[in-house]
Symmetry: C2
Subunit: 333 residues, 2 copies
C-alpha cells in the first residue's frame, strides 16, 4: 500500500479511499492510484483491514461438519457456500469426524481466525465447547441436530414425521413386521427417526417387536451384519426402514446378495445418487439439503448483522420419494 501511495504520489489514506470506493478522492487521483495498484499487483490485506475496521468483520464464516466427503455434508457445504458468496463471504471448512475433541480444536482454530460466525453439525455427546463458544458471542447455527443448550438457532428436517409416514406407508401395504435399522443412538436424528418409527407402528396398530430394532450401525458394514441377522430370524421382517444413508446401502447389499430385493420392502432415510437407477428404485425420505443449507446460512448472516430476535428452530420438510422398493407388498406365505 505504501508502494502504491508512493507511486501515485498520494498518502496511504488516499489509497485506502480509492480501494474502498470511498468519497474524497478526485477522479484524476483515483485513476493514478488504480494504475499504480495494477502495475504493482497490489492486493489489499483483508486481515489487516479487519483488524483496524470498527465492525471487525473478517468476511469469513466457519463450517464444521462431520465429514466433508459425505454427500450430505458436501451438498450442505455447497449450499452454505453459495449463500455466503452472495454476501462476499468465504467459508473455512472442517470435518469434525463426530469427535468432540477434534470439533473443539477446530472451533478454537476458527475462533482464532476471527470468523464472523459458524455453521456446525454438532458432534454427539456433550456440547460444552459449542456452548462456550456461543457464550463468547460467536453467531452460531446448528444444522441437522439441535443444540442441547439454549439461545442458539438451528435447522433440522422433519425426522420424526417423515419416519412415521414412511412406516405408515409400509403398514398400509400390509406389512406387519417392519424392521428399524438406525445409526448411532447418541445422534439426535437417530433418536427422532426411531421415535417416528414407534409412532408409525402405534398409529398403524402394530406391536413393536424388539428383535426387529437394530441401532448403533455406524457405517455400511455394521448395517450389513445387522441386516443378515434380521433376515435369519424365524420370522424375518417383510419390510425394512433404514434410518440413514449408509445403513440403507448396507441393507441393500444384503437384500441383493440374497435375492430378496424384489420381495422385501425398503424405505431409507436420506436420498443418495443413483437410487433411481437400481432395480427396484429405492424409495427414500429425501431431505431438502439445499434448503437446509440456505436457511442455515441466512440465519448466521442475520445474526452477524445484529439480529437479536429469539432463537429459531427451523424445520425444513423432507419428502417421501416413491421409486419402487417402498411399494413392495408383503409376499403371501
Amino acid at each position: 500500500m505504501r508502494d502504491v501511495a508512493a507511486l501515485a504520489k498520494v498518502s496511504t489514506k488516499t489509497v485506502s479511499r480509492v480501494i474502498n470506493d470511498l468519497p474524497g478522492a478526485g477522479p484524476e487521483v483515483v485513476e493514478r492510484v488504480r494504475a499504480a495498484a495494477r502495475s504493482l499487483g497490489y492486493r489489499p490485506n483483508l486481515t489487516a483491514s479487519s483488524l483496524r475496521r470498527s465492525d471487525r468483520r473478517s468476511a469469513t464464516i466457519g463450517v464444521l461438519f462431520e465429514d466433508l466427503s459425505n454427500p450430505f455434508d458436501s451438498a450442505l457445504l455447497r449450499a452454505v457456500e453459495d449463500r455466503a458468496r452472495h454476501n462476499g463471504v468465504l467459508v473455512l471448512a472442517g470435518s469434525s469426524e463426530d469427535d468432540r475433541t477434534l470439533q473443539s480444536e477446530l472451533l478454537v482454530s476458527l475462533s482464532a481466525r476471527r470468523v464472523d460466525g459458524v455453521v456446525v453439525m454438532a458432534a454427539g455427546g456433550h456440547q460444552d465447547a459449542l456452548q462456550q463458544e456461543r457464550e463468547r458471542g460467536t453467531p452460531m447455527v446448528l444444522v441437522d441436530r439441535p443444540p442441547t443448550f439454549g439461545g442458539t438457532d438451528c435447522v433440522t428436517t422433519t425426522n420424526r414425521d417423515s419416519s412415521r409416514d414412511a412406516v405408515l406407508q409400509l403398514a398400509a401395504l400390509g406389512h406387519r413386521d417392519i424392521a428399524f435399522l438406525g445409526d448411532r443412538r447418541t445422534l439426535w436424528t437417530s433418536q427422532e427417526r426411531y421415535t417416528g418409527y414407534l409412532e408409525g407402528l402405534a398409529q398403524a396398530g402394530l406391536t413393536l417387536r424388539d428383535e426387529l430394532v437394530r441401532t448403533d450401525l455406524h457405517g455400511a458394514d455394521l448395517a450389513e451384519a445387522a441386516t443378515k441377522t434380521l433376515l435369519d430370524l424365524d420370522r424375518p421382517p417383510t419390510a425394512l426402514f433404514t434410518a440413514q444413508n449408509l445403513v440403507t446401502v448396507g441393507a441393500m447389499r444384503v437384500l441383493r446378495a440374497r435375492d430378496l430385493h424384489r420381495s422385501t420392502a425398503l424405505i431409507g432415510f436420506d436420498d443418495f445418487p443413483l437410487a433411481d437407477m437400481l432395480e427396484p428404485g429405492i424409495t427414500v425420505v429425501r431431505q431438502d439439503v439445499p434448503g437446509i443449507g440456505r436457511k442455515a446460512a441466512e440465519l448466521v448472516f442475520a445474526r452477524i448483522d445484529g439480529d437479536t430476535s429469539p432463537p429459531v428452530h427451523a424445520v425444513v420438510p423432507a419428502a417421501l420419494v416413491r421409486r419402487g422398493s417402498g411399494e413392495i407388498r408383503p409376499s403371501a406365505h
Copy 2:
C-alpha cells in the same frame, strides 16, 4: 491480551511468550498468565499475529474446485483437509463452477485473506488469473488438470493410459464399434481421455468411426441425448467408453431404458458410489482420489516451506475396476 496481562500483572509481551510457549517466563508467571487467560476466555488473534510475525503465515490454505458438492471434488477436498489438519492448517474452500471470472474473483478473495498457498482445479480456457497469482509468488498446485503456464506443480491421473487400457479391454472382447462419449472438449482431461481412446483403437487395429465420437457432453442430460443418437445409428456401437462421471450415468440411463444394459458393454472413467450395486455392475476406471489430494497437499506444503526444486507433475495411477458392464461381449448379429 491487554486484559490478560493486567489481570496477571505482567506485560503483554510476557503473555505472548506464555501463549506461544516461548522461553523467558518463570513457571509461576506462566501459571498466573494461563489462569488469567482461562478466566477471561482469551483467544489469541491469529490474524493480528500473522500480521506481525516475520514468516507472515496465516496457517490457512485455499482450495478452489469446480463444485464442492460433486463427489470427486468433495473427496479431494477431504483428502487435502486431512493433510492440512496434520499441519495445523485450515482450509478456505470455494467452488469456481468452471467459470474463469468466478475463479478469478475467488482467487483474489483468497489472496486478500493471505492464504499461504492454494490448490486449484483450473477452470477451462485461459489461465491468466492463475498465472498472475502464481507469479505474485503464491504457492500453487493444480489438480486434475495441468497448468498452461510453467513453473507450477500439478497432480493428475493416468487419463490417457487408463483410457487406452479400457478401450483395449473392450477390443479384446471382440468389440469393433466402440463409441466415445466425452465431457467438454476444452477440458484437458477430456482431451487426454480422447487421445487414449484413439491410441487404444489404433493399437487394437480398429479404425475410428467419427460418428461414434460425441463430445461436449456437459451433464447427464446431454449425455443421454448423445447416447440415444448413437444407438439409433444404422450400425450402433456395441461398446461405450464414457469419459466422465455424469456422462456414464446418462449413458446408463438410456441403456436401461432400452433394455440394452446387458448386451452393450460400458466402461466409464471415474468411479461413483453404488456402481457395484447396479445390474450389471459398472466397470470403471477408478482414480485414486485420496492419493491425489494427499499428494497435492504435500506439494503445496513443501512449497510453502520453501522448497524451490523444479516444478513437479505428479501422476497418480488410476485402476480399471471390473464389475461386469465392461466385460460384456458383442452379441452375434
